[in-house]
């Protein structure tokens, strides 16, 4: 029964402002460039108030790790659109890389509403 409720919730029209980032545990793959690894990620924007997301890569202590994203670290994703992108890191940092995150970028629109910034982090194992 609980799964039915969950599925109905997931399928309901209420999920208008959702942020979805996968895979949960990305794998680092070799690239044609020696010494460079990449992780392929997918971002689905179901937030109609958000158009931009910022990618971040961190170690286990949440220190930033240098990286490059195909198309830039700030990603434009239209509402209900899916964006696939690759995160490139140096092979020498393979042991350090722990989290790959996307965070919504909110714009100040002058309203008094408390707005929500969402961040989802995948873990490299």
């Amino acid at each position: 029964m609980k799964y039915i409720i969950f599925l109905l919730t997931m399928m309901s029209g209420q999920a208008l402002l959702a942020h979805d980032f996968t895979p949960t545990y990305p794998k680092l793959e070799t690239t044609h460039q020696s010494g460079v690894l990449k992780a392929s990620m997918k971002l689905f924007n179901k937030r109609d108030d958000i158009r931009y997301y910022r990618v971040g890569v961190y170690d286990s202590e949440w220190n930033k790790i240098p990286f490059i994203v195909s198309g830039g670290k700030t990603i434009n994703v239209e509402y209900l659109d899916t964006k696939r992108f690759d995160v490139y890191i140096q092979e020498s940092r393979r042991r350090d890389i722990t989290y790959i995150c996307t965070k919504s970028l909110t714009l100040q629109d002058g309203s008094t509403k408390s707005i929500m910034a969402s961040r989802i982090c995948s873990k490299v194992k």
């Binding site: 609980k2 799964y3 409720i5 969950f6 919730t9 997931m10 209420q14 999920a15 208008l16 402002l17 959702a18 942020h19 979805d20 980032f21 996968t22 895979p23 949960t24 545990y25 179901k46 937030r47 108030d49 989290y99 995150c101 909110t106 100040q108 002058g110 309203s111 008094t112 509403k113 408390s114 707005i115 929500m116 910034a117 969402s118 961040r119 989802i120 982090c121 995948s122 873990k123």
Partner: protein, 167 residues
């Protein structure tokens, strides 16, 4: 004889066409994931001049965020209530921030244990999402200006950060 063959072929082709028309594949996959959804946008009420609060009694609305996880024990929810305004008039005095995060609704009754198992530090609340399903978290936020000082008129905005971190 030839007419019969044509008729038979035409009939067979019709059936084949019907068969193709009925078989429309829909493919999909279920994978571990976390979805963060803004369920309710919060509003600061200003019942007394020196306080901005999301409490209903103060005319505010508590923001509500929903976490959906497909599989248990894959993610941790981390919710931070505001400690500063992202937009406000020029404030010459200090603002004291308080806030709490609590479970509002659940898709599984066992999730109510999240409230007792949550870890709180600074302005952050962490919850191990140990049960698959949806959990709604309510965030309460209050800002007090100076010592009983009235907030200057203008627009105020603060941000709740909802994070879902793979564990």
């Amino acid at each position: 004889m030839l007419n019969k063959t044509f008729t038979l072929l035409a009939t067979l082709m019709t059936f084949c066409a019907s068969a193709f028309a009925e078989e429309i594949p829909i493919s999909g996959s279920v994978e571990s994931k976390c979805i963060v959804t803004q369920d309710t946008a919060g509003v600061y009420g200003n019942a007394s001049p020196e306080t901005l609060s999301t409490a209903t009694a103060d005319g505010g609305v508590h923001p509500v965020v929903r976490f959906d996880v497909i599989q248990a024990d894959y993610y941790m929810a981390k919710i931070s209530h505001p400690t500063s305004f992202t937009e406000s008039p020029n404030l010459s005095d200090t603002v004291t921030w308080t806030g709490t995060t609590s479970v509002d609704q659940v898709s599984d009754a066992a999730m109510s244990a999240y409230d007792t198992n949550k870890v709180e530090y600074d302005n952050v609340t962490e919850v191990d999402l140990s049960i698959a399903g949806s959990t709604w978290f309510k965030i309460e936020s209050e800002a007090d200006y100076g010592y009983n000082k009235a907030f200057p008129g203008g627009q105020y905005q603060a941000v709740v950060t909802a994070e879902c971190i793979a564990i």
